[in-house]
């Protein structure tokens, strides 16, 4: 039987105020996790804020599809208080995805559903068809 989740990372891989990008498609996951190059844009990223994990699509609402980190896994502003799009410096609340400063202010990041932690792992629930 195929698992209904993919393991993105160990829980300890993303500490408070940190972010990390992933390509959760099973065939790409190892490569996304191991490839530190920014050339392969992450599909999504995960941020830990006040203990909770939040998953967002790596797509700025200002220019949909445009990647947000300035280098691999760097999705936060300098202080770690906000998610930041490093195209034009737009700032987003890490828990709600609301843009509070920048070109898309008032807009929202797109949440990635199915993110959870279990057995010391950060996992993403997926449909069986995708997992297979």
């Amino acid at each position: 039987m195929t698992a209904d989740f993919v393991r993105l990372a160990a829980s300890s891989d993303i500490a408070e105020g940190q972010s990390r990008g992933f390509d959760p498609r099973p065939a790409r996951l190892d490569r996304s996790a191991n490839n530190r190059s920014g050339g392969d844009s992450d599909v999504m990223f995960v941020v830990r804020h006040q203990g909770q994990l939040y998953g967002w699509l790596n797509s700025c609402p200002h220019i949909p599809g445009s990647p947000m980190a300035w280098r691999k896994d760097a999705y936060l502003n300098a202080s770690g208080s906000h998610v930041c799009c490093h195209a034009h410096g737009a700032l987003f609340e890490p828990d709600t995805g609301l843009c509070v400063q920048g070109p898309c202010q008032g807009g929202h990041l797109t949440a990635v559903p199915g993110l959870y932690e279990e057995a010391g792992e950060i996992r993403l629930r997926i449909r069986a068809a995708v997992a297979g």
Binding site: A27, R31, S37, G39, W70, A74, N77, H88, G89, P103
Partner: protein, 318 residues
């Protein structure tokens, strides 16, 4: 007015270490650094200057999200400095700083500086290609590709692109007060502007945007040619940096481009081989579109070769 082009961009940044490393990896040379600032030069001495964002000596940014604090022009002579001071002094404060440079705000709220240019003359070959039917350009027995070169360095500060709330007003300031001229225009977006002592297609491009966006879209340095842009961009990505758009070749200006995200709240470009125009040139106008923006657009790939060990689908899918 002999305004030659951009000499320096001054930023106030919240993450000084990240910005330092970014500029070094981009190819600029560190010429001064202390705990609170740094100066990073291209081959001709044009530069990006960094300070911590809370440095009280910095001019204010036009908006909270903009990290650019000052755009410094190089001019050819003291007569030009005097002429600029006299012209801008008609309706705004013009400060003379201790180093003899002057500074004043433009009509959008960007702080401008003007100084005798720091640019050192360069005596370097550009990218040289041979072609059937043309006289030999690159000498016999010389190599076009140098994979062992430790670092590719940008040659000179090229251009900056501002988001401005009132394009007509912003353009009028540069054209009527400083003698710039429009070389081409994207209708409904804004003009490419060339200063009076410069032949480059543009040192400025203005993009109309809501007032809260006032700031910088990107800045860039000229590299030695398309091979340097593509090779340096490829290396930049493999150091972990995130590409945004490119590599490709623009239509207006013909420059090769590759844009990257950055910790400067704007894109940073690598560019090469921009068209040069004199007064004989008549500005074009076009609606903006993908076709009008570039002749072609490519993308990063990992190095690969067709042979044993090659993934069945190349490196596009895992």
């Amino acid at each position: 007015m002999k305004i030659i082009g951009l000499d320096s961009l001054v930023f106030g940044v919240p993450d000084l270490e990240a910005c330092r490393q970014y500029l070094r990896d981009y190819g600029l040379e560190t010429v001064a650094e202390d705990d609170n600032s740094g100066c990073y030069e291209a081959l001709d001495g044009t530069s990006v200057v960094l300070f911590r964002a809370d440095n009280p000596s910095l001019p204010a940014a036009p908006t909270a999200g903009c990290m650019l604090r000052k755009t410094i022009f190089g001019v050819a002579d003291t007569d030009t400095l005097s002429a600029i001071a006299e012209e801008l002094g008609k309706d705004r404060e013009v400060k003379v700083l201790d180093d003899g440079s002057i500074e004043a705000l433009d009509d959008t709220g960007f702080m401008l500086g003007f100084q005798l240019t720091v640019r050192r003359p360069l005596d370097l070959a550009g990218e040289i290609s041979n072609a059937p039917g043309a006289a030999v350009q690159r000498p016999i027995n010389s190599l076009a590709v140098n994979n062992s070169k430790a670092r590719i360095q940008p040659r000179t500060l090229s251009h900056i692109v501002y988001f401005v709330p009132d394009v007509a007003k912003a353009e009028a300031f540069y054209v009527e007060r400083l003698g710039f001229r429009c070389t081409d225009r994207f209708i409904g977006v804004g003009p490419f502007l060339q200063p009076p002592g410069c032949l480059d297609h543009h040192t400025h491009f203005l993009i109309g945007a809501p007032a809260f966006m006032t700031g910088v879209e990107h800045f860039t340095f000229h590299f030695g040619g398309p091979t340097e842009v593509i090779q340096n961009g490829h290396n930049f990505i493999e150091k972990g940096y995130q590409a945004f758009w490119g590599p490709g070749r623009h239509v207006f200006g013909s420059n090769w481009f590759w844009y990257f995200n950055s910790p400067f709240a704007c894109h940073v470009e690598m560019d090469a081989d921009m068209d040069m125009f004199d007064l004989e040139w008549s500005a074009r106008e076009a609606p903006i579109s993908a076709d009008a923006s570039q002749a072609f657009l490519l993308g990063y790939r990992q190095r690969w070769f067709p042979g044993p060990g090659a993934p069945v689908n190349g490196d596009y899918e895992g």
